[in-house]
């Protein structure tokens, strides 16, 4: 799902971390090996697949690259055998997840812009790229998607990164540095929100 200027290794690193989060969700819900592989693949690739279906880029990138399928498989194997150790590394996983979130919102927005969508719709699709895999992971696991209720700043940093990307693109600023900048902003806001416990509001009058 890499946009131009994004080193492929970075893109695959993002895929890997999202896949680990899918695999750990499978452990928590006591799924079997099939469930683990499905959740790892869907968490890592689902957002990009949704975006590609919506902009008409079919087959989606996940179905034309071997790496996109094999990396989540490797992540599944890791979690299958060593999930207690991986769980202990969760703070690091959260850090990498924030990096994946930033990267995917920036590259997802860029791909939509390059397919001719408006800046507003491209921002939407950037957010879909970043959070869509996690939404599908939660739905498959029988849970309300955490992004809808957990009040963490997760979708909002993705929206910030996507908006910066769209504004820069509209101002004719292109290249890897722009993409990296948007990604870093989103990742940074996500990490600050974790650090300081920032929350999104509930509708007026709805108690905690």
């Amino acid at each position: 799902m890499a946009g131009p200027g994004v080193p492929e290794v970075l893109d695959l690193a993002g895929i890997f971390v999202f896949a680990v989060s899918g695999g750990l969700a499978a452990v928590r819900q006591r799924l079997d090996v099939v469930g683990m592989v499905v959740l790892a693949e869907i968490t890592a690739l689902g957002g990009g697949i949704l975006r590609d279906l919506l902009i008409g880029a079919v087959p989606p990138a996940a179905f034309t690259s071997l790496g996109y399928v094999l990396v989540p498989l490797a992540a599944s194997a890791l979690v299958f055998f060593w999930h207690p150790q991986v769980t202990r590394l969760l703070p690091a996983v959260l850090l990498f997840d924030a990096a994946g979130l930033g990267l995917f919102c920036a590259t997802g927005t860029l791909k939509a812009l390059e397919h001719g969508l408006s800046p507003l719709h491209s921002v939407l699709l950037g957010v879909v790229t970043a959070v869509g895999g996690g939404v599908l992971r939660d739905m498959l696991g029988g849970q309300i998607p955490s992004v809808l209720y957990d009040r963490q700043l997760y979708a909002l940093p993705a929206m910030l990164g996507a908006a910066v990307m769209a504004v820069a693109y509209t101002a004719d600023l292109h290249g890897g540095a722009v993409t990296a900048g948007a990604a870093v902003l989103a990742t940074g806001l996500r990490l600050l929100a974790i650090r300081y416990g920032w929350r999104t509001p509930r509708p007026r009058g709805v108690p905690d």
Copy 2:
């Protein structure tokens, strides 16, 4: 998602009412502001997006029009701040929801017919347009889609409107009056069903 002859303001009114129903579902499930916006957008746009993906009209209309994205955002803001007042207006919301149901089944069927699908498949896609957003709203909210079990006449009026639309189109009757007629029939049946408490049957021998 308007077909020819449907005033755009009517189309956006339907979008608005469906978005309000999504926003109210978010309040009931105590989602945060992100969950509310997502449910409002998906409830309003999900049926049309599914239809457009299935007939190959990509990007879907929701990703080429600003109004389709901004109107649910406005509905979210309304529900976020004034949901107790909106809830008190629920009978009116049900009325408008019936109008949206009628409008969307008619225009959804027409769009499928114009893309060359058979009358039977166009009826199917008209129903998908009308009820798809509500199905996605319920699935995202962790609930069985109400249209599958609540025994209200909701999908059946949509099917009636879609069938009338398809028959008229096959008989070379076109134009805004035909679309309006099909929409009014579906809306009327839905309102009669609410008024008289008509129910759909359960499989033989399944108790209440």
Copy 3:
């Protein structure tokens, strides 16, 4: 969804059995007639629709053939009126379901290969064709998809049949006999797994 060389009657028989399984799920969950028809159609057609969306074959085959829509409707009528009798035939249903699984993984893989996807991605899409309908059925019914946790050999036989199909195709072996062979292998493994109670593993250290 039939590939070349697959008699259409066999294809429709697979659709019918999958639809019966969807209808029976609707009875268990006490859905109404709308829910039953939706679950029957989705279980029978959902896997093929997902595959066709992902390879860009739109409208999906289910939206260009009358039989694909009418057969699940007939299955719904059968289950609606005679579900106690159908439930008693469940061992036979399981047998036919295994046949449908084998047929769909083979023809699904073939269709993806013919659309130019790589063998690995075609195997993935063959498995999606075979199990996708059941996954959507479970999600609509508010349950975690059984294929993710029930430890039965269901996805793995589909993967075996899909892999055999892809290897044969890559080795320039074509025709109905090859498709039939792959289907029979998958069906056979599924039946052996039922007969001998073979199970898929859970992640290391996760208790039963």
